[in-house]
């Protein structure tokens, strides 16, 4: 007679049922329960759907598969009976605990749902769901703890979620007690731990104090709750390893790996506190966890939902993210200590601020790439751990963090990448092409969307290169301009090397600095060696470039063959930043700086200067900008325009202020202050619904004959 049959007539031998084929149990009758089908099988035993033939309802019947005797048996029964007294909407009701054939079984409420561990998946659940579940689990624990019942084996497979989102916690006080007693309550060793893992698969949820052999208390349940919530959010338990030893070591000593950025900081903080190694540092009651989760829940109800996942590996805590809609303007602000993102509607009156991303690292280069339907932001980061190129396709929620630095000088070149100063997108017809200008001065190109990069040897092997000299900020190739009409022509600006151009796609490069004066060499008009701070081009006039030199403002009308001085009535021709108007090719913005020695705005007045006639004359734009005691510096990439009409102009200062104008510079507003020193400001109009308009004065040549006499006396120059 086999054991299954012995259950049918309840007279057979007490052979361990778990040794039998569980399917034999189908149709067996145990007391007034008829077993209908198998529901599942876990480390602790087999669960069946059974029919209560007295009350005419379906129940779940679980065999615990362990034989106990004496005091342990009494203890288990006492505890199980106490657990069966629990009545709470989030606790699976235990109808009966019994013993038959030497084995314990539990008859409990049948729940139509899925264990949490089976619905988590690799990427975790949306945090809104996790908070809802967390509140219910904490509520269940609070109810049980209030009746002196500790779960002792809370894990995601013991949490069932119904299709309506109702949580039911299973097996209060039972399973772990069984294991512990079965293990003879001896000294805890690696062997007993191994055994616990094999039997229950629950090592991942064990608290440090339980691992140390202490009895554990309700706070051990709160630890397990932290593990369950962490796992639900990320798809992984916080402490893992290949061996029991590794897992144990991680639980005892390692901090949990940081949660992904999409998780609200409040929720992350609750989990972190549940996972404090010392019980005294955790929440002391489940009701506290429940209250904390409810508080986070109500706080996040007013913030935007997020279920976006990334290819990310970067995690920072405490970051706010942007919710960006089509038509919005986004500002990308790189500082010495991280990136901030700002968003506004096209009115550009109010700004939401997100960040800081890349906490503690400097970002000199940012760009928004909307070629080929992307919404990608690129950023370069630099710190003591090196310089890396990162991207985000979800407006900063997640960023790539390449294992290997993709931009690297070839072995044997002797050069070491110090910083990435400029990220330049290829032409719209080449949506997978990108360029980077780096320090030490070199150009890198990618033809596969930034995945792999190669050094442009034509420029790196240029005979001039050994004689380029670092400027104050280092020897950097900081600006790359592509000729929109000639796909073979591009420009590179190097400080201090000067302007170089190629006419054959990068194989050969020529210095193009004729007419640009230097102050740091005995020869005033050398072929190269100029300390160019910025060059700018309007796509409607690709033959014309503007240039802000270390000292001097220049324009070329012939692709850089010759340059002419355009420093007409500006307070100083020293400066760093220079941008062209998005529509008007004769309109350029600069921020004059007093001198190379005193790198601040002249006379303590923060003034943007604008020309609308390609440099024949300049006008100060000051409405809304501080005109007293404002000793500011605007660095070379810290000014930008947007592509709306009227154009928005934005700039950041080394003192951490961000200013903007929504009317082409007529009036200014401080958007933000208190930032780390701003090194880079870029803009994006999201969604491609740009308000286009024909370039004003396109192709109109500015005649040098019409230039007014220079007001040299008002111009601070170094000659």
């Amino acid at each position: 007679m086999n054991a299954a049959l012995s259950w049918r007539d309840q007279t057979g031998s007490p052979t361990a049922l778990v040794d039998c084929d569980p399917d034999f149990m189908i149709d067996s009758v145990l007391g007034h329960y008829r077993i209908v089908s198998k529901l599942g099988e876990g480390g602790m035993g087999v669960v069946y759907r059974a029919r209560d033939q007295v009350l005419q309802r379906d129940v779940a019947l679980k065999f615990l598969g362990a034989a106990l005797a004496g005091e342990a048996r009494q203890l288990l029964l006492r505890e199980a009976r106490a657990a069966s007294a629990l009545s709470h909407p989030n606790i699976c009701t235990v109808h009966e605990v019994g013993e038959a054939g030497g084995e314990f079984y539990i008859v409990m409420e049948l729940i139509e749902g899925k264990p949490l561990n089976t619905s988590v998946g690799d990427g975790g659940l949306p945090y809104e769901s996790v908070m809802r579940y967390g509140v219910q689990i904490a509520g269940a624990l609070a109810h049980a703890h209030g009746r002196n019942i500790i779960h002792r084996d809370l894990k995601s497979s013991n949490v069932i979620v119904t299709p309506e989102g109702l949580v039911k916690v299973l097996d209060f006080g039972l399973a772990r007690r069984l294991v512990a007693e079965a293990q003879d309550a001896g000294t805890r060793t690696m062997d007993t731990l191994e055994s616990a893992v094999t039997t229950g698969g629950t090592l991942s949820y064990m608290s440090p104090e339980v691992l140390r052999g202490e009895p554990g208390d309700l706070r051990s349940d709160l630890w397990a709750l932290g593990v369950v919530l962490y796992e639900a959010l990320t798809g992984q338990v916080p402490f893992h390893g290949r061996t029991t030893f590794e897992v144990t070591a991680a639980i005892l000593r390692e901090p949990p790996p940081p949660l992904p950025v999409r998780i609200p900081p409040g929720l992350a903080a609750v989990i972190q506190r549940c996972l404090a190694k010392e019980p005294a540092l955790r929440y002391q009651r489940a009701s506290e966890v429940q209250a904390a989760l409810e508080a986070v829940q109500s706080a996040s109800a007013v913030s935007e939902p997020s279920d976006q996942r990334g290819r990310t590996t970067t995690v920072h805590r405490g970051i706010k993210h942007l919710k960006v809609n089509s038509g919005d303007v986004v500002l990308l602000v790189g500082t010495m200590k991280g990136v901030f993102l700002l968003r506004s509607s096209a009115q550009r009156g109010r700004w939401d601020v997100a960040g800081p991303y890349f906490h503690g690292q400097a970002t000199y280069a940012l760009v928004y790439d909307d070629r080929a339907g992307r919404h990608r932001m690129w950023a370069s980061t630099v710190g003591m751990w090196g310089a890396f190129l990162r991207s985000s396709d979800d407006f900063g929620r997640t960023w790539t963090n390449p294992q290997e630095a993709p931009i690297r000088f070839p072995a044997g070149s002797g050069a070491v990448l110090k910083n990435i100063w400029h990220i330049c997108l290829g032409r719209p017809t080449d949506p997978n092409v990108m360029y980077c200008g780096v320090e030490p001065a070199a150009l890198f190109e990618s033809h596969d969307d930034g995945e792999t990069w190669s050094l442009v040897r034509g420029l790196f092997d240029h005979p001039h290169r050994p004689r380029w000299m670092p400027g104050f900020g280092g020897l950097a190739l900081h600006t790359i301009l592509l000729d929109p009409e000639n796909p073979q022509r591009m420009y590179a600006a190097i400080s201090a090397g000067g302007v170089y151009a190629t006419e054959d796609g990068g194989r050969k490069w020529q210095a193009r600095n004729r007419g640009i004066r230097v102050v740091h060499l005995p020869e005033k008009y050398p072929e190269f060696g100029q300390c160019v701070h910025k060059i700018a081009m309007h796509p409607a006039r690709p033959e014309r470039l503007f240039l802000q030199n270390h000292w001097g403002l220049y324009r070329t009308d012939n692709h850089g063959d010759t340059w002419q001085d355009i420093a007409n009535n500006v307070p100083s021709d020293f400066g760093f930043s220079m941008v062209t108007h998005p529509c008007n090719p004769d309109c350029v913005y600069i921020v004059p700086i007093e001198s190379d020695e005193f790198r601040c705005t002249p006379e303590g007045c923060l003034r943007v200067y604008r020309t609308r006639n390609a440099g024949e004359s300049w006008e100060p734009l000051t409405r809304g900008l501080p005109q007293k005691g404002a000793f500011e510096t605007v660095l070379r990439d810290a000014m930008t325009t947007d592509s709306l009409d009227p154009a928005g102009i934005y700039f950041g200062t080394r003192s951490g202020q961000l200013y903007g104008s929504a009317d082409e510079g007529k009036t200014w507003k401080k958007i933000l202050d208190g930032l780390p020193p701003v090194v880079c400001v870029k803009s994006a109009v999201v969604g491609g619904d740009r308000i286009g308009r024909a370039p004003r004065n396109a192709k109109k040549t500015v005649s040098s004959k019409r230039r007014p006499p220079r007001e040299k006396s008002r111009i601070r120059r170094k000659r």
């Binding site: 390692e254 790996p257 590996t313 751990w385 090196g386 290997e404 690297r408």
Partner: protein
């Protein structure tokens, strides 16, 4: 006897969150121990070393309590059982 690497916070995100990595290999130089480390966790290499294979300027590596700058750099011999600690320098602005 294994050699243990002790990682600072930033590198842990490239080592599955671990602060200590044990390498089962004996009789080697620091360069070989590092090779073994980033064979396990490739993301660590480019954070710790430049593309020319040198340890980055502001990163200090200690074998037990000795700064490897004074013990032979990457050729520092690694005895069994030592701890190799990677710590960012006190620098920056």
């Amino acid at each position: 006897m294994p050699v243990t690497f002790v990682l600072p916070g930033l590198l842990r995100s490239f080592a599955a969150g671990k602060s200590q990595i044990v390498i089962e290999q004996s009789s080697m130089t620091l360069a070989e121990a590092l090779e073994a480390l980033w064979k396990l966790y490739p993301g660590i290499r480019d954070r710790l070393a430049t593309e020319q294979g040198e340890i980055r300027e502001h990163i200090n590596v200690f074998v037990d309590n000795e700064d490897v700058r004074y013990t032979g750099g990457l050729q520092t011999p690694i005895r069994d059982g030592v701890e190799i600690t990677i710590i960012p320098a006190v620098s920056g602005g």
